[in-house]
Symmetry: C2
Subunit: 353 residues, 2 copies
């Protein structure tokens, strides 16, 4: 196989030229604004790409789960931020084991998560950095008041083996700035310095530098981009590095055709209405709407009289959200333009623990 | 580890006692109505469970993709129906290779898919069974008129190496009966016998025998069941064999808690509104609603004053749709009640091709 056109479908195809351009563009942006960069590898889950991110200037990487961090540490990454509360059976030993061989930083938003970090440090004898996570309006994880952040930071400072690294949030919103401002005053009154303020989110990536006090970003999707990036104005379609190569396997009526890439290939993630309709954008037939996804079927429709691909034709689909796509596939095909260059193993796929 | 309670989370846990009861119940049902049974293995994707289905009386299994069939053939399954149109590069050789070692039947809904079967038979020298798929109202794959079905069947009968096995559809609806009735008359006038009529769909499984002319079913979800089964009245919660064991990792406010099982563990599949709200049912806190799923976060809310689990507590989540859950995990923990009995590899996971 020499060309993408000869690959069996469905196959996620990553264009390495576009990846390289995306990596360099974001690295240049963060460097020009003096921001530290710890890209989130959940988007690609490929050690080779994480190493490239570091080689181009990233100060380390961000992972969501210990299993991802273990894969990346094994591959030679030496500094990892785990931006997820670590609570529960088994987490302490695994974090300790990681901290004994590489530089580990963890996010906490509760005394329980802090306790995991503290015990991990005791077990391993290694220092562990701690970022206190606050909620900037997503209503997900993160403390909701600056006073809680101060409490947690104070405990970190009093805990042997832990290092207070600062505050973090996701995504970056107006509320992040408000919260950080409030926290900065409160921490100053308590005589505590906030060494870093870390934010993330590709859709607003190019205005990260406008957040007062921000010192670090953890953007992830920017390496591949997707329909969400494009809808948010953070990328063009030409900057989308991953597409799903698919084949039309059925066309029961002139207005309906079925692609062989269902939710097992694309995930069933949606995009906000203004970003586009359906479960992905078909580059060769952008007027078609992928109305429904079954596990192995993408059901697309066109309006009466509109053109649609025939059975056996191949198309490329830009996913709504690219991160879960990486998680669904053991490997991605790599390409430069139409040339096929092999497969990359998605080694950190499926690491939910 | 001896007990489920000692497992790290998130982990899908399958209760083998419930599985066994579900398998026996459906097998008894189909036997009592004289229906042939080719259970769809997309629900579990575990060869050991497919072998058990056959051991209990199934005449073979159903797979959706060649990659699944290859795994199951390697494990010793000797008769497989591929209920998916095979079109595109590489499919011919792989189907031929399977047909040369086990009994293969394929579904077709177009001349192109029929051509794949025909060429596969030529390559392998093996006979391949063909079911013509018709659309019973889902508006997915399948021919939409009885005349098209007759055309395809006629071509099958004229093609050396192919055997016309009958008609199939999914799901079973009133329209299936109407379509089959029409087709039966048309085929009879053409002097063509329809050897089998195959239908599927766990939600309506227990009324399968009411479909006139039906000779075979391909139900899948019945082995595990899920919130869709329960919502449709096809199972009780106690018959749900797979749950996601999860830990509360954050509780930013009294009304909001976060579980460590996001869409990477549960998939983002939904259920119809009358079946329940949110992305899964938390057995220990059924009044909570999993409002949003991120890749690693399940965000659940309760009403002010309602009880909610604390950070570190473990809960069990019944998935909305269990089939994509199997596809997300390399292995499932197996249990009998609270006892942990090991892991089963989900060997046919991720086989999108």
């Amino acid at each position: 196989v020499q060309y993408i056109d000869e690959l069996e479908t469905p196959t996620p195809v990553v264009d390495l030229d576009i990846v390289e351009a995306n990596l360099r563009k974001m690295q240049a942006y963060v460097a020009s604004h003096g921001l530290r960069f710890r890209p989130h590898i959940k988007t690609h889950k490929v050690p080779e790409l994480a190493l490239r991110q570091v080689q181009l200037g990233a100060q380390g990487i961000t992972c969501q789960k210990l299993g991802e961090a273990e894969v990346m540490a094994d591959a030679g990454i030496s500094s990892i931020l785990l931006s997820y509360p670590l609570v529960g059976i088994g987490k302490t030993e695994r974090l300790g084991s990681l901290a004994s061989r590489i530089q580990m930083t963890v996010a906490v938003d509760s005394p329980e998560a802090l306790e995991t970090a503290s015990r991990s440090s005791q077990i391993s004898g290694a220092e562990i950095g701690v970022l206190v996570e606050f909620d900037s309006g997503a209503g997900r994880t993160g403390v909701v008041t600056a006073a809680e952040a101060l409490d947690l930071a104070t405990t970190v400072l009093e805990t042997r083996g832990l290092r207070f690294d600062g505050l973090m949030t996701y995504p970056l919103t107006e509320q992040s700035s408000r919260f950080f401002g409030e926290a900065a005053s409160l921490f100053a009154r308590a005589g505590i310095e906030i060494p870093a303020f870390s934010g993330a989110g590709t859709p607003e990536a190019w205005s990260s530098h406008l957040t007062p006090g921000l010192t670090e970003v953890r953007h992830g999707s920017y390496i591949y981009h997707d329909r969400t990036s494009v809808g948010a104005g953070a990328a063009t379609l030409a900057e989308c590095a991953l597409h799903m190569l698919a084949t039309v396997v059925s066309r029961p009526t002139p207005e309906r055709f079925i692609l062989d890439c269902g939710s097992k290939s694309l995930s069933s993630d949606r995009v906000p209405e203004p970003f586009g309709k359906g479960f992905g954008l078909i580059l060769e037939c952008p007027h078609a709407v992928i109305e429904r996804l079954y596990e192995e079927h993408a059901l697309a429709t066109v309006q009466p009289g509109e053109a649609a691909p025939r059975i056996g034709e191949r198309v490329r689909v830009v996913p709504n959200h690219v991160c879960p796509v990486s998680n669904l596939h053991d490997e991605v095909a790599i390409a430069r333009g139409v040339r096929f260059e092999g497969f990359l193993r998605v080694a950190a796929r499926g690491k939910t623990r």
